[in-house]
């Protein structure tokens, strides 16, 4: 034990000497959904390469993308697809898929919903748990995320937007009666205490305090998201400015390679994400 710690101390001090000249700093900003995962990876990275400081900030997908365009951040994190005008200017890498799970209270007898039912519930047409196989006489307490949130956008695109039998595209709005909270954690906390609640959060956030519902008969598991049979998922992107990132710094390339490496992927898997490495460059 003592030997190990002194060895660590030794490397520390050596590294400290080397890095006195200049410490490279990488600034990352964007989606609060991606932030915790990149935060974990950057901690690992900093342990390995002590001459680099990785600064991971939140702010939301849109702000992160804007920061990369402005040059105030080296890398942006986004939990939504880039808009056409953004995709024109920026490179991006899909690093992971994150399943979105509908959750209820543990003691709620309902353990599955069809996409059709979810649509009906969130558009306000179905208001009673009895209509979907639960205890009748209990009104839904719906939870959703705030307008503009990546999580909400995925839900709106994958569930609330669909093509009907006549081939028309229908866009339903989430009912204004639903309660709006501003984080996955807050929604989980409220749902875990309310027998009539229904909400949706990241697969990585689901634990035994709540019940994750099957969607169209498919269980929300890592494997099913990976195979693509579980339909409700979103992609996490890292966004780069081609003009700044590559020319200026190898540290940024290096860090991204670390995320895509086995070490990086392992961290993502441990956090219930499905690692992907799809690079979209100009």
């Amino acid at each position: 034990m003592i030997i190990v710690s002194s060895a660590v101390f030794f490397t520390l001090s050596v590294d400290g000497n080397n890095s006195k000249i200049a410490k490279t700093r990488i600034t990352i900003a964007g989606s609060t959904s991606v932030q915790p995962y990149i935060g974990l990876i950057s901690e690992e990275y900093e342990k390995k390469f002590m001459s680099v400081t990785v600064n991971v900030q939140g702010g939301g997908s849109s702000n992160g993308i804007k920061a990369v365009i402005d040059g105030t951040a080296d890398i942006g994190m986004s939990s939504r697809a880039l808009k056409p005008d953004e995709a024109e200017k920026l490179d991006y890498i899909v690093i992971a898929r994150d399943g979105l799970v509908l959750i209820t209270h543990k003691d709620n007898p309902v353990d599955r919903l069809s996409i059709e039912q979810v649509r009906g519930i969130y558009s306000g047409k179905i208001t009673d748990w009895g209509e979907v196989g639960g205890e009748s006489g209990r009104a839904f307490h719906l939870f959703t995320r705030e307008a503009g949130s990546g999580t909400r956008m995925v839900f709106e695109e994958e569930i609330m937007t669909f093509t009907n039998e006549e081939g028309e595209e229908i866009v339903l709005t989430i009912t204004a009666e639903s309660m709006v909270l501003n984080s996955n954690g807050a929604i989980k906390a409220m749902v875990s205490g309310d027998l009539n609640a229904l909400g949706f959060i990241s697969l990585g956030m689901v634990d035994d305090t709540v019940r994750g519902l099957q969607l169209d008969g498919v269980a929300p598991t890592l494997e099913n998201v990976n195979k693509g049979v579980y339909r409700l998922y979103r992609e996490f992107l890292l966004v780069l400015n081609p003009q700044i990132s590559y020319s200026d710094s190898n540290a940024i390339n290096d860090f991204i390679n670390f995320i895509l490496s086995e070490d990086g992927r392992e961290i993502l898997v441990n956090e219930s994400l499905v690692p992907v490495a799809a690079v979209h460059c100009h």
Partner: protein, 274 residues
Amino acid sequence: MFLIFALTSISVLAVITGFIFMQGFPLIADVGLRDFLFGTTWEPTRGQFGIGAMIAGSLAVTFGAALIGIPVGICCSIFMAEFAPGIVRKIFRPAIQLLAGIPSVVYGFWGIMFVVPFIRNYFGGPGLSILAGSIVLGIMMLPTIISISEVAIVSLSHTYKEGALALGMTHWQTILAVQLPAAKSGIVAGVILGLGRALGETMAVIMILGNATALPESILSPVRTLTANIGLEMGYATGVHRQALFATGIVLFIIIMLLNIIAQHLTNRGDMIE
């Protein structure tokens, strides 16, 4: 020298005001003042900007908080000014100031851990509701009301009280018929500043009101306030959506400004009486 510092603080106010109005006004002009203020559909990502339900939400929660905070606050200030023995007052006064010093996120946390489940279990509904918000905001406005009202009562000239007692009135009659009316303007000013605090509160409100954008049906319904609307969505808002949040800020700004002007006016009148 002092003039320069004074001008700095004023100019900060001017810059902030100017900025909010500049950012928010184009949207109000676009949507139309009437649709913006009285429209009840808020779908900012689909170009629907009506903050009517949120104005209603802010007013409902503030009114509910007033129902709880005003009677408790005024009674407490009477107790402190007239009945509390020295030692009790010495404990109460800093305790109440401490109440003002608790960060609002702590109030919100307390609300979500205790008040919300209590309402959900005993009154029904989701718990995140006008009622929960009113209880927490009612407590949060107490320190403002108590300290200003107490000062208003204590600082009355002794002649009021002594005269009334000399005429044979009991202590209670003196308080109700002489001291309270005489301190009225100060108390009302305290109440209005307390209301301003409730109206401007953001963090706690986001946590315990449920933030639904529909018009509330009962005191057990979740609502969104103007402040919560800004606090909740600013992280993601871009373009017109962001303008709409600034426009929400303008409305809030004007309401709070009006409240403060009324409070100021009343306090000034109080000075004149003395």
